[in-house]
């Protein structure tokens, strides 16, 4: 049992890292008022570019960097379309996912069978001996550690720097921010590019640290989960990491419980009803739906009146800002 739990925790952390990167990136973009539905495509772009770089140069650090830069470059299309052209952000994002998926599958074919060493494990002595948490948190790859460090970094950036303050202001009320002298467009670009860079890094983490290979579509919906995560986390970095590990944990659990079935004893009251229900609810595939279900529930709850103001989405999310001249 202990082994199972430890194994689960380890897998959770590793699975969650890419979610942390991607969701933090999306969080920043959305805080500036731009919804980026292209995360999945950007992750794949980052994954492929990072992988190719590592195969060619043998240096996973370089690969990781290139992956992030590639994601950022790809997201500049979304930035241009949404901010400068004020096009519909939904379409732009969804199409970029389609484009990213298509392009990476297309150009990635020759790289499918390659293998790399990727990021090795870096063990932190002493800490790794902690029960349960030790092996989960302190025996991972550099990108995993970086992901954890990124959370306070983003929190600090958004809440305790002038840039972050201005970004938050833009996402709530771009007109007021503009009146106060904030460069709305520039900062929106910055936010989207950060989002793209982190999405690219998320993908690179997958191909260089988590799986150490490349397959078309390898992100398997993580980009969409990251988008859901931002809402689930109510746009707060501290909650994003919790959500990332939660959602990551669910997918890790789903894999691990594939052969296992949960049931109560026959003598248990209502066993006839409970057991099939349990079997359904703990089925590994059904488990994988929980992040999405949870997000819908959170959204429904939060949309009830008062709560909307307290927590809640950046007010100007999805609105294209244009300075109205008289």
């Amino acid at each position: 049992m202990v082994g199972f739990v430890v194994g689960l925790l380890v897998a959770t952390v590793q699975s969650g890292s890419s979610l942390i990167y991607a969701s933090l990136g999306e969080l920043v973009a959305e805080r500036a008022g731009i919804l980026n539905l292209g995360v999945e495509g950007m992750m794949l772009v980052g994954a492929l570019c990072g992988f190719v770089t590592t195969v060619v140069t043998g240096n996973p650090y370089l690969g990781f960097l290139v992956g992030a830069v590639a994601g950022m470059a790809f997201s500049s299309i979304h930035a241009f379309l949404s901010i400068t052209l004020k096009s519909d952000q939904v379409i732009s994002g969804v199409m970029l996912t389609l484009l990213g998926t298509g392009l990476t599958t297309f150009f990635g074919k020759p790289w499918v069978s390659k293998s790399i060493d990727g990021f090795g494990r870096v063990t932190i002595p002493v800490a790794v001996k902690l029960p349960y948490l030790g092996p989960a948190l302190f025996n991972n790859t550099v990108p995993d550690y970086l992901a954890i460090l990124l959370v306070p970094a983003v929190w600090y950036f958004l809440g305790h720097t002038n840039l972050g303050l201005e970004i938050s202001a833009i996402g709530d009320d771009p007109e007021t921010a503009d009146t106060m002298g904030v460069h709305v467009f520039r900062l929106q670009y910055l936010a989207v590019l950060i989002g793209g860079a982190l999405a690219g890094a998320a993908g690179a983490q997958l191909s260089l640290a988590f799986s150490k290979l490349w397959i078309g579509g390898m992100t398997a919906g993580r980009g969409w989960i990251a988008i859901a995560l931002v809402i689930f986390a109510q746009w707060r970095p501290s909650r994003a990491i919790v959500g990332a590990y939660l959602f990551g944990g669910i997918s890790a659990l789903a894999i691990r419980t594939q052969g296992i079935s949960f049931a109560v004893g026959h003598a248990f009251p209502f066993a006839g009803v409970i057991n099939p229900a349990l079997a359904f609810l703990t089925n590994s595939i059904i488990l994988s739906t929980y992040p999405y279900v949870a997000t819908i529930i959170v959204l429904a709850v939060v949309s009830q009146g008062e709560l909307r103001e307290r927590i809640g989405a950046p007010n100007a999310l999805l609105q294209a800002y244009s300075r109205e001249l008289d």
């Binding site: 002038n162 972050g164 921010a177 106060m180």
Partner: protein
């Protein structure tokens, strides 16, 4: 004691012929600003003395906001100059204005509710953390971007707060503050940037009387410290209580600048509100029928959750027009919306022909025979992107003549739309299907909306500022049609700011001020001055006081 009045010039010209006041701190000379179809400011002169509270008085549409937006850099005047301390100013943006020491507190606050007071005030200033302060070059810029030094601003806010008696907690979240406190944060924003001149745009529109008192104390403290204040308002009581001098604008022109102490409220009201009657219409006596609309004890909140209607009673009979006079912002919008079902009242009842419709959805109001001509015609009156045909049938599309069994007979709709265009002389409609409502001019669109609402023989018609923003020819036409409906037996609630319209059309007059009817009378029993005074908050009982010289306010 005769008032010192500077008589208005009737033409606009670029060079001002008024001698420069030696005490002048700020001068606006001959400011003219035009928009398509209207001259918002026509050769306006304004001179401000340092340390005074200067009131800018006028109805909506008089040009007060436009003038201040010119001063604040949001607009550029077509003609005229702004002179500050003897220097000509070229203002292209609010940032320019702030740099020259001109600050503005808007009617709709520019605050981010999620952020704290200090964050709101310091936004855009890029105050870095202590170690980066004053550093130049790349390090300085990065420091300013990537750090946040709120300690300095926080202290400064505390200091300013103490100095001016503002009592604001820098770390409070704006969301948690009440309206009065939020306004003080707006004032702080300006003070933080070292303004010498503070413009307040209708500051008491959102405040309770107690909060307004508090604001006045604050303004006195500000001017004691040497700040100059422009106080834009339409509320006569307040302007006379707080200002040193008052400038009255009307229809884009300056009527006069007077010392507050030298003028009576009645005189100010007359300057603000009187105008020649444009045309006179025949209003024959019509036998008044049964009660068609009965409103009792109606309370309603505005969009911000503040009470806008504080218990109104209203009765309308068939064949009568009840004019509700008042300056907008006193509950008119909320009254109109309650009467058509768009807004839920918080207390009270509405009955139409005896039928209690309180709390029912808008559809019920439509079905029961209420028609609505809203003041915001593009938002509530039509779908600008849809055709004239579709907009003509907006209210009645459910009627059998437009189709049965859930279908629509667009041929019938086209015929109907065309008949409306013809009957109501709507210009600019070559093809009811090809022309969109948004393509029509303001006057013609209003005629279309009116046509639609009147043609259905409503029992009750709610018309909110039906002739606002409409050209002269259409205005006369619309008023005639309203009278025609009155003869047909419709009971009309006419909400308007235009006194001549109220007097011309109404059988009874009610004045709405701060959510209550403060005067109920008939055109024969009163005159425009009395009603005008009531519109600005002076009740008839107090009217006698209003013809005494005002007490004057602020520091001399």
């Amino acid at each position: 004691m005769s008032p010192t009045i500077i008589w208005p010039r009737l033409t606009g010209s670029v060079v001002s012929s008024v001698a420069a006041d030696p005490d002048a701190f700020l001068e606006l000379r001959g400011i003219t600003k035009r928009f398509p179809g209207v001259v918002a400011n026509d050769g306006v002169d304004l001179t401000l003395r340092r340390g005074e509270i200067h009131g800018l008085l006028g109805e909506n549409g008089a040009g007060k906001s436009t003038l201040m937006k010119v001063l604040y850099g949001l607009y550029t005047a077509d003609e005229g100059e702004v002179v500050l301390r003897g220097e000509f100013l070229r203002l292209h943006s609010p940032q320019d204005a702030i740099e020259h020491g001109i600050g503005m507190v808007h009617q709709h606050f520019k605050l981010i509710p999620r952020l704290s007071v200090v964050e709101n005030v310091a936004l855009g200033e890029r105050e870095p953390a202590a170690q980066f302060r004053g550093r130049g070059g790349l390090v300085g810029r990065l420091g300013r971007a990537f750090s946040l030094g709120l300690a300095g601003p926080r202290q400064r806010i505390r200091d300013l707060s103490a100095e001016y008696g503002l009592d604001v907690d820098p770390d409070a979240t704006v969301l948690e503050l009440d309206v009065g406190q939020q306004q003080r944060v707006e004032i702080l924003k300006a003070l933080y940037r070292d303004v010498d001149l503070l413009i307040l745009d209708e500051p008491t529109a959102v405040l309770t009387p107690q909060e307004a008192e508090r604001l006045f104390e604050t303004l006195e403290q500000l001017t004691d410290q040497g700040l100059t204040v422009i106080f834009i308002s339409h509320k006569l009581n307040e302007v006379t209580a707080i200002t040193d001098r008052v400038t009255v604008l009307r229809d884009g022109r300056k009527i006069a600048t007077v010392e507050t102490a030298d003028v009576t409220r009645a005189e100010l009201a007359e300057m603000m509100v009187g105008r020649e009657v444009l045309f006179s219409l025949e209003r024959e006596p019509v036998p008044v029928g049964d009660e068609v609309l009965a409103v009792r004890g109606l309370h309603a909140d505005n969009d911000r959750g503040v009470e806008a209607l504080a218990g109104v009673d209203l009765t309308v009979h068939a064949g009568e027009i009840v004019g509700v006079a008042g300056v907008s912002g006193n509950g008119q919008k909320e009254l109109a919306e309650c009467l058509v079902g768009l807004r839920r009242s918080t207390a009270g009842s509405i009955r139409v022909l005896g039928d209690d419709v309180t709390g029912r959805p808008p559809r019920h109001f439509v079905d029961v025979g209420i028609s609505y001509v809203p003041d915001d015609r593009y938002r509530f009156g039509c779908a600008p992107a849809l055709s004239v045909r579709d907009n003509a049938a907006m209210k009645d599309y459910r009627q059998p003549r437009f189709g049965e069994h859930g279908l629509i007979d667009y041929g019938a709709m086209v015929a109907y739309a065309e008949s409306l265009v013809e009957d109501f002389d709507i210009r600019g409609v070559t093809d009811v299907e090809a022309v969109h409502a948004g393509d029509l001019s303001g006057g013609n669109l209003q005629k279309l909306i009116l046509a639609r609402e009147l043609d259905r023989e409503p029992k009750v018609l709610v018309a909110n500022k039906p002739t606002r923003g409409v050209d002269i020819g259409a205005i006369e036409y619309i008023r005639e049609r309203l009278l025609e409906k009155r003869t047909d037996g419709t009971g009309t609630v006419l909400i308007s700011e235009e006194l001549d319209e109220i007097f011309e059309l109404s059988d009874r007059i009610l004045v709405l001020y701060e959510g209550e009817f403060v005067l109920e009378t008939t055109p024969d029993a009163t005159n425009q001055d009395e009603v005008g005074l009531a519109m600005t908050g002076v009740r008839p009982e107090d009217a006698a006081d209003a013809v005494e010289p005002a007490a004057g306010g602020g520091s001399a």
